[in-house]
């Protein structure tokens, strides 16, 4: 059985995020037509929320437990390089506890929540920010994937029996340093006793069309960039498929870790670190 290894402090896993920071990322999602969200803002927000969810998932009474180590690699004008800032600047893999304690800043955000009496009440929550939107220069995606491959290779040498590393690439897909499929294939061939490394892609695009989440095939994807990123993406392992269905995604047996112009943060909930905190239904 693969993808069954315990994720714990003694047997941690790792997340490697690749974030496209190239000039094309400044374009708005969905083209013109009054849509204001720009791709670099969308990926920065998705990444900050992913990191937030991972930290919260690992939080216990006396702090965040290091079930995961996390790297964020940005690719754009500075080629592919560690993208965390502040106290974590220049670092590659960082234990999640350290990441949780060192965001660039905590923003106060006001959310409306049910007040229990049929109305809504405004609640202020803290939203950590590690990554700012950046859009500058070319798109060296192959270099970023090669960097991820090197990190994965190093990790699996140290954790040969652990849950395999997960690489999530957040991009508009417009690589201009070669064909990323070959290096993606090499990356996915690396693995531990528990399975091959998982490569997932969040595609943010101005090509329009309907959002797509964890599709079985590339039929219906709007362009060649989307089809390439789909081809690079690992299939979701069976237990992740099962959690995806529990989370309301009507996915098929060959669902791929590919999301087009849609939310990817729920991915964190597809990982097991112990008994889930779910209310009685």
């Amino acid at each position: 059985m693969t993808y069954q290894a315990e994720i714990s402090r003694a047997n941690p896993s790792c997340f490697i995020f690749l974030v496209d920071q190239s000039a094309s990322m400044v374009d708005p999602i969905g083209g013109s037509g009054g849509v204001t969200a720009r791709k670099h803002e969308v990926v920065a927000d998705a990444l900050n929320r992913l990191l937030t969810e991972i930290a919260i998932k690992c939080a216990k009474e006396e702090g965040v437990r290091d079930y995961f180590h996390v790297a964020v690699i940005g690719y754009g004008a500075r080629s592919a390089a560690p993208a965390l800032g502040g106290d974590l600047a220049g670092r590659r893999l960082v234990p999640i506890s350290e990441l949780a304690d060192h965001p660039l800043r905590l923003e106060e955000r006001v959310k409306k929540e049910p007040d229990g009496a049929g109305g809504l009440v405004e609640v202020t929550t803290q939203f950590p920010v590690w990554i700012e939107p950046v859009a500058n220069g070319a798109t060296p995606m192959c270099q970023a994937l090669a960097e991820a491959k090197a990190l994965v290779a190093e990790w699996i040498t140290q954790h040969p029996r652990g849950f395999p590393p997960i690489v999530l690439n957040l991009t508009d897909g417009e690589a201009n340093d070669g064909d990323p499929v070959a290096v993606a294939d090499e990356l996915r061939l690396l693995g531990t006793d528990d399975g091959e490394a998982l490569l997932f892609n969040l595609h943010v695009s101005d090509a329009g069309g309907s959002p797509v989440t964890f599709p079985d095939s590339d039929a219906g994807l709007p362009d060649a960039y989307a089809r390439t990123l789909f081809a690079m993406s690992s299939e979701l392992p069976p237990h992740m498929q099962s959690y995806a269905r529990q989370n309301g995604y009507p996915i098929g047996e060959t669902a791929h870790g590919f999301v087009y112009n849609a939310d990817v943060v729920s991915l964190v909930q597809f990982l097991d670190i112990g008994t889930r905190a779910l209310a009685l239904r």
Partner: protein
């Protein structure tokens, strides 16, 4: 009746990180009537061990209806949940006092509340010896006679265990829903019968052994505290048992 207790945290965790809980009333176990409550705090929730403790405490202190009536069970859960806001407030105040105020990543978990499974068993060794049990989740009771499993409750096969068992939460628990979901069972006790109450990893191991035709009772009965820890290590290392907090309460007539 004689009660024996074994417990251990996950491998790699400290005793303070153990998030199961058990309570016996009377605590000595040496009476004709005994109540046993075993709870398992869900590892993804905050203060899960304290919630497991509060539930076990409430059931050990409760009388008959908590064990054989859905509404009585739900009312006892509500007793435990009623005390939860004070418990959280005390925890937050203690963190402040220690100069370690809550961090941003702890608040969502605290707001969501804690979750736990629960098994509550009332054993009567009087004129009509028997047991009554109530459960939400996968903390299990096994009734054994002459080395044979008579009853497994509420989970009956090793394949049924997973990471999303039904759980009791601290917040917004609907007594009607709890009463609808709680499972109840009872049994008559014969001379020499033994009851084992245990949390999920050990329960899954017991059922897997039983399904393999290798009754586990002699193995469990032969372990003292130190032997239990060594045996757990070996079973976990051999991947015959999941790495989880383990609690076992054995009650023999």
């Amino acid at each position: 009746m004689r009660a024996t207790i074994r417990h251990a945290p996950k491998a790699g965790n400290s005793e303070a990180e153990y998030e199961d809980a058990y309570r016996l009333a009377p605590a000595s176990g040496g009476s004709g009537r005994l109540r046993v409550a075993v709870a398992d705090g869900a590892s993804e929730s905050m203060l899960a061990g304290r919630w497991a403790g509060a539930l076990a405490e409430a059931f050990a202190a409760a009388d008959g209806p908590a064990y054989d009536d859905p509404a009585g069970f739900a009312a006892t859960v509500a007793t435990a949940a009623d005390g939860w806001p004070d418990l959280v407030a005390a925890y937050v105040a203690d963190r402040d006092d220690r100069g370690r105020p809550l961090r941003w990543y702890e608040r969502p978990g605290l707001a969501k509340g804690a979750f736990a499974t629960l098994l509550a068993v009332a054993v009567d060794d009087g004129e009509e010896p028997g047991w009554r049990a109530a459960a939400i989740g996968d903390t299990c009771l096994f009734h054994v006679r002459d080395g044979a499993l008579l009853s497994a409750f509420p989970v009956e096969s090793a394949a049924e265990f997973g990471t999303a068992p039904p759980l009791l939460g601290t917040l917004g628990a609907d007594p009607g829903l709890i009463a609808e979901r709680v499972l109840l069972r009872s049994g008559a006790l014969g001379p020499g019968d033994v009851l084992y109450a245990c949390t999920d990893a050990l329960a899954a191991w017991i059922l897997a052994r039983t399904e393999d035709g290798a009754p586990p009772w002699d193995v469990l009965d032969g372990l003292d505290d130190a032997g239990f820890a060594d045996w757990l290590d070996a079973e976990r290392t051999a991947e015959r048992m999941g790495n989880d907090d383990v609690t076992l309460v054995r009650v023999a007539r």
